[in-house]
Amino acid sequence: MEIPEVKRVSAIKKDYLARLAKEKKRPDGRSADEYRPIKIERNIIKKAEGSARVKIGNTMVLAGIKLEVGEPYPDSPEEGAMTTSAELPPLASPEFEPGPPTPDAIELARVVDRGIRESKYIPFDKLCIEPGEKVWIVFIDLHVLDYDGNLFDACSLAASAALQNTIIPNERYGLGENKPLPVGSPPVSCTFVKYENFIVVDPCLEEEQIAQARFTVALDKNGDIRAMQKGLRGSFTIDEIKNIIKRAQIHAKKIRKLLGEGNGKENQKS
């Protein structure tokens, strides 16, 4: 099987990053526990029910939320539903190719989905229109625009921010007035990678290219764990994982301040 180009790195770059790692240094001069600057812009797509653009360094993703009326799942007739999908369009990187979602895109969407679902961020019981017949389906679409590493955190943050300014489009379906989508407390995702026994938060592209293992943890507002995902071929020791979670708890607290609580539109009204 051919290795995708993104995974191929020149020996010289690998050596250089390995040398830096021995001195606990990163290619862009950050410390092991330093995020790149994070910027969140909300409400930028008029046709979407909710949207947000998130930049982490040079990485840029756009989350758009659409709501449609659909049938509930038979095992939860009084609850709404949600689906998350991620697009890695060729616009965002020379390595991305058009076509159906790759395993990478599917993993990305599913990890973001789990963080949101398991933190009970969307109260599905409030999305029922007619029990067993009609409920709201929330579509979270993640569009990567510029790929310079750490799509997991960027996408998770964009999805959370977009849901915070989402409107339930009652008017379009003749169900009364539009209302803000009620949301709880957002999950915050922190991703780490390991290369040359150096574990760093918020990997940039170069670091992802040589990473042996990746770890994503989604935390709720109490710092409790709601979802985790280990990725790539390498491994972590138990102590490494424990350490990563403790580090993530500190980062998540800071990132949570950028997001705030609840639906911004709800807050405006009260």
Binding site: K47, A48, L145
Partner: protein, 235 residues
Amino acid sequence: MLIKDGIRIDGRKPDELRPIKIEAGVLYRADGSCYLEWGGNKIMAAVYGPREALPRHIQDPTKALVNARYSMASFSVEERKRPGPDRRSTEISKVTSEALESVIFTELFPRTTIDICIEVLDAEAGTRCAGITAAAVALADAGIPMRDIPVACAAGKVDGVVVLDLTSEEDKEGEADLPVAIAPRTEEILLLQMDGHLTYKEFEEALELAIKGCKQVAKLQRQALLNKYKTFEVK
């Protein structure tokens, strides 16, 4: 009633464009890029290449391939669109590729491909024209040698009046839509599509109006490219 006392439903005159904002060089990974807002449209375009065309059998030993891909975000329209290409976007990708190829010096880069990605993030009528306009700026930003910078704009007929740059209501309710792309220096037509009903006279009038619109947009494209290089000015 879409036109009242010579004023359109969004307050424009028949020969007036919607507001347009163009920014060049907005993406870090792409070789060239452009972000464009045109009325309610928001479009991101990126150019990669010239780069080796793969798989090898698609290579042309005499010239570069020009491969534009028009794609709509699922949240860019009222009813969520299923991700991935449909018949409409496949056609738009094809005519866009052909329109852009006509100005590129493809013979300079044999065996390569120039990939143009057009992502419609928010849609409100006239996305193909906006896409071509953005793609052209991204091509120039990528330093691709071209005879001219293509530009596109639509005209149409609403309530029996020939108008420039249709809104979505005018597109739906109106009588005709005529998207046109030109090379503005020579006025060569690079793309022309039409649906609806126009007399020959109305067509002449609409084409003239579309070309006039293209030339206004062309000025904004040039301004966007100049703005990008402002930061290089010597103080």
